[in-house]
């Protein structure tokens, strides 16, 4: 996949981070061992809703090695509530429950002891008297006015209920000859990284600074910690040189860090919280969207959809945080890759007595894409048309870009039909259908699944002002600083943590490309938060665009400095000074040149040779704004949400054992277009991993609750992550439509596998079940349930 436009970009180079991990020299938060560290175990509420009547700490505090038991009242008196995304002042969120606990697993106390084991022992000895309260688990029940409000002061469970109208929806519905409605449900699952959340903090009372090492992927993390602890931002120093063991959205850790930070100040020692798996699954506040969609479309005889009405009802759990914004991100691609002319979108978020949601890969867009793609299949079925043909007719055409969708975002570039053609040139559609039919003839249920998806990337977090008018955010910048030392070595910076995305490789490649230097010789470091320029962390598929862009511009600034120094020293006009691979020569007389080391020496030692007004030394920095700028949403909720839109097309051949209900993916093809690929290994890995994650969401993973409000899938025995047996070989067909908005034409690539896979697999399952007359409209499609459905349908058939 080498590209002659570039020296290093798009070449199949190794990922520099990999070396430290394969030898066990990653540096994860739980690896940080500070002398004198004390450990925390969490006391959790066993009930879905309860008033805390009394807490008896006596027995726990009497145990050897136990130092402290913190409760919610004490913490609340000393700290500010955690930041909420929406303007919901009566839904306060605290790290430890204050007087009322609102879900089973909620944190009510934190026990501090010399070891984690002693803290766990003592946590069991904390006696809490509860008075049970009514609770609600289901979103529709929570929405009903008579349901018990999770937050009594808020008065209802509705956090958000907003209807957007983009275009002439009623007119378009009236004019279209056909309508189809559909209800689909996206089950509650999440990203569930193998590393749980871990944080180590240490308060230095003499320097008045809190050092934090945490497994975070969180925008504006230090600011939130400082605000909650009521200390200046400069009193929180977050160390970014911590490797994060997977996140895919959820590693936010605000409440963990506030508890640890408070206790470190209170007790004068380093404090460590490393969740165990149970704490993580029940009370880590890292569940994902659980969403009910009612979709209706109006379409013509050819299956071309003219208008769509979508109602999305999300069960966000007991507290809000940022999670309701996951109903906002889909606005940036509300019609997917299709030319739907008008849209009505009603977004509703309700609280319930379930674990709190956090950001999950693609931030709410994957459920929405599942709903849109299910509808595409339904339209095809209704008209008796081929599912692929219906999609082709609805997809935006290459010549229509830039294409503005009804909700105000303009898609930058794409050639969706070309991607599909390429996939089908790799394996003919007819051959896949024939393979499916052979499987059917052999007695198995078999289906072909189809889904397209867009991956919006690199945006301004515009869903914040869209859903909260008091929030006026219009930038989501990222930064890079490059310095050259006296030896001529180049060092570039990243101002956030990474969780497997290869950002050091990204920055090395980009800086090397611009400066014409070997990327492996570019040192990439991560200053702590107090030494850092602004970053908004690796969320929203943004780093190739935003960190890559910042590194590109910083490198160009550095190059401009070197060129100016050389022009001055050579006594030539600046435009004649030509930079190449670190040296600068006179374009009119290439023999006259200054080598890299000479230029560096001038900058560092020879002020008398610098152009007038030049600062000595050699460094450059760039803080990058989102390429499409930043504007607030219009009053009807239109906004440019993302600058770049990647495209994927998924084709899945799946067989189901009719006796066991066990699905088996026989072929998985994906056409992938994320513009210019900076590192092919990384992009391939992201695509494959995203698909694996999507297979889990479609077939295996669910945070299931019983009717008593207890989470019944809280270990890896019952919350099933795909193993190597469940993920088939995946064939990626690459296409490249550069973005006009980015420095190399790159777009985001971390999410599209997860955006398309659940829809594609659901489509395959439904195609497989079609001969039995079964349609499944919810995820996950679990094996046992599928087996029962098939058995019942076969029984019905036999009974005739």
């Amino acid at each position: 996949m080498s590209d002659r436009r570039f020296h290093f970009v798009s070449t199949d180079r190794r990922v520099r981070e990999d070396r430290r991990f394969v030898v066990g020299h990653g540096r994860f938060a739980a690896d940080i061992a500070l002398p004198g560290t004390r450990h925390i175990a969490i006391v959790t509420c066993p009930h879905p809703a309860a008033r805390i009547v009394a807490i008896d700490k006596g027995a726990a505090l009497a145990m050897p090695g136990v130092h402290y038991v913190l409760d919610g009242r004490e913490l609340a008196a000393a700290t500010a509530p955690l930041m909420a995304g929406l303007d919901t002042p009566n839904v306060p969120r605290r790290p430890l429950a204050v007087d009322v606990a609102r879900y089973s697993g909620e944190w009510v106390g934190a026990v501090v002891a010399d070891t984690r084991a002693l803290a766990e022992d003592a946590a069991e000895a904390v006696e809490i008297e509860y008075e049970l309260q009514p609770f609600v688990l289901d979103a529709e029940e929570a929405l009903a006015p008579a349901s018990p409000p999770v937050h009594a002061d808020h008065g209802s469970n509705v956090l958000l209920d907003r209807t957007f109208m983009w275009g002439e929806v009623e007119r378009d519905f009236a004019q279209a000859p056909h309508r189809q409605s559909l209800r689909v449900k996206w089950g509650r699952s999440s990203t569930v990284p193998v590393e749980t959340f871990a944080v180590v903090v240490s308060w230095d009372a003499w320097r008045e600074i809190l050092d934090v090492w945490a497994s975070i992927q969180m925008p504006k993390f230090p600011d939130q910690i400082a605000a909650a602890l009521r200390v200046p931002g400069s009193a929180v120093r977050v160390h970014h040189d911590v490797d994060v063991g997977g996140s895919y959205g959820v590693k936010r850790g605000i409440k963990h860090t506030v508890v640890a930070g408070y206790l470190s100040r209170r007790l004068g020692c380093p404090i460590r919280i490393v969740e165990d798996r149970l704490e993580n699954m029940r009370g880590g506040d890292a569940h994902g969207p659980e969403r009910l969609f009612d979709v209706e479309v109006a379409f013509d005889d050819a299956g071309v959809i003219r208008s769509m009405k979508m109602r999305a009802l999300d069960n966000v759990g007991a507290y809000a945080g940022r999670s309701p914004f996951q109903l906002g991100k889909p606005v940036g691609a509300i019609v997917g890759p299709y030319r739907i002319g008008s849209v009505q979108y009603r977004a509703i978020a309700v609280t319930s007595n379930k674990t709190v949601q956090e950001a999950v890969r693609a931030f709410g867009q994957s459920p929405t894409n599942y709903a849109i793609e299910r509808m595409m299949d339904e339209v095809a079925k209704r008209l008796g048309l081929d599912r692929l043909e219906v999609r082709r007719r609805n997809l935006i055409r290459r010549q229509e870009f830039p294409y503005t969708i009804p909700s105000g975002s303009t898609y930058d570039s794409g050639d969706y039909h070309a991607v599909i053609d390429k996939v089908l040139a790799h394996t003919a559609y007819a051959d896949l259908i024939a393979a499916r039919d052979r499987l059917r003839a052999s007695g198995r249920l078999a289906g072909l699944g189809i889904a397209a998806c867009l991956e919006p990337s690199g945006g301004n977090s515009s869903f914040e002002p869209l859903l909260n008018p008091k929030n006026t955010t219009t930038t989501w910048m990222d930064s890079c600083r490059i310095s050259v030392d006296l030896s001529g070595a180049v060092t570039a910076t990243i101002h956030t943590t990474s969780s497997g995305q290869g950002h050091e490789t990204l920055v090395g490649t980009v800086v090397g490309e611009v400066l014409g230097l070997d990327p492996d010789r570019i040192r990439v470091v991560r200053p702590d938060s107090l030494e850092s320029l602004p970053s908004n962390s690796p969320v929203g598929s943004r780093m190739a665009i935003m960190l890559g862009g910042a590194a590109f511009h910083a490198a160009h600034k550095l190059k401009a400095k070197l060129t100016a120094i050389a022009a001055h020293d050579l006594g030539i006009a600046p435009e004649r000074a030509t930079y190449r691979h670190g040296d600068v020569y006179d374009a009119d007389n290439p023999e006259r040149r200054l080598a890299w080391q000479e230029l560096v020496t001038i900058a560092h030692r020879h002020f008398h040779r610098l152009p007038p007004g030049f600062e000595p030394g050699l460094a450059a920095a760039h803080i990058m704004q989102v390429p499409t700028g930043g504007t607030l949403p219009t009053s009807d909720g239109r906004v440019q949400m993302y600058p770049c839109y990647s495209f994927e097309f998924h084709l899945v051949l799946l067989a189901i054992d009719p006796d066991l209900g066990k699905p088996e993916i026989k072929r998985y093809l994906v056409g992938h277009d994320c513009g210019t690929v900076i590192n092919p290994k990384i992009v391939r890995g992201m695509t494959l991993g995203g698909i694996a994650h999507g297979i889990g969401a479609a077939l295996y993973e669910e945070f299931a609750y019983d009717d008593q409000g207890q989470l019944i899938t809280q270990t890896f025995m019952d919350y099933l992550l795909p193993s190597s047996h469940e993920v088939p070989p995946i064939e990626i067909i690459h296409h490249e439509t550069p973005s006009p908005h980015t420095v190399f034409g790159q777009k985001g690539s971390g999410e599209s596998g997860y955006l398309g896979a659940p829809a594609a697999i659901a489509s395959a399952v439904n195609d497989a079940l079609a001969p039995l007359g079964i349609t499944i409209n919810q995820t996950p499609i679990k094996l046992a349930w599928l087996g029962d459905l098939i058995a019942a349908a076969r029984q019905d058939k036999e009974n005739g």
């Binding site: 490797d243 994060v244 997977g246 270990t715 025995m717 190597s724 995946i730 596998g753």
Partner: protein, 163 residues
């Protein structure tokens, strides 16, 4: 409780509570942080180490039970500072990892497989690593890494062709 553990060819005397898992002992008492906790109930495999060459979950056994075995951790696989074993190098070549959290255990599991089966089929590899959860990669590049390492190791062990 005093116990003697032989780790990466070196004897270590440690004083641990009887209930201390081998994983916690390696990490907290010996500073060998390449073994990771993921689930602590034996499903994810992130804590895998080798006991007499067999891949086991260090979260499911007590440190005192490991007395008398030859324990290999990820720290014992690298030939020297800055050097990679052929298997470790193959993981870098195919990018068989992302966040790196499951990686040491995955490599130890693969190491045990290749010691047992120098010519594994894809099914052998998939079966061997099926007890190690990776959330990042979807396993495809991991299977490629192990396949590549097996090929290279077989090549390295072959006598030179006669001139």
């Amino acid at each position: 409780m005093r116990t003697e553990l032989t780790i990466n060819g070196k004897a270590h005397a440690v004083d641990v509570e009887p209930r201390t898992t081998l994983l916690d002992c390696l990490r907290d008492h010996l500073g060998l942080t390449g073994a990771h906790a993921g689930c602590e109930h034996g499903v994810c495999g992130a804590c895998t180490v080798l006991l007499d060459g067999v891949a086991v979950r260090s979260c499911l056994m007590f440190a005192v039970q490991a007395d008398g075995y030859a324990i290999t951790t990820i720290e014992g696989l690298s030939p020297g500072p800055g050097e990679l074993s052929p298997l470790q190098d193959a993981f870098c070549e195919t990018h068989g990892l992302q966040c790196g959290y499951c990686t040491p255990a995955m490599i130890l599991t693969a190491h045990a497989l290749l010691a047992d089966k120098p010519e594994p089929t894809r099914d052998d590899i998939v079966e061997a690593i099926s007890g190690n959860i990776c959330r990042c990669t979807g396993y495809v590049q991991i299977v490629e890494a192990i396949t590549l390492a097996a090929e290279r190791l077989r090549g390295a062990n072959r006598p030179p062709e006669p001139q």
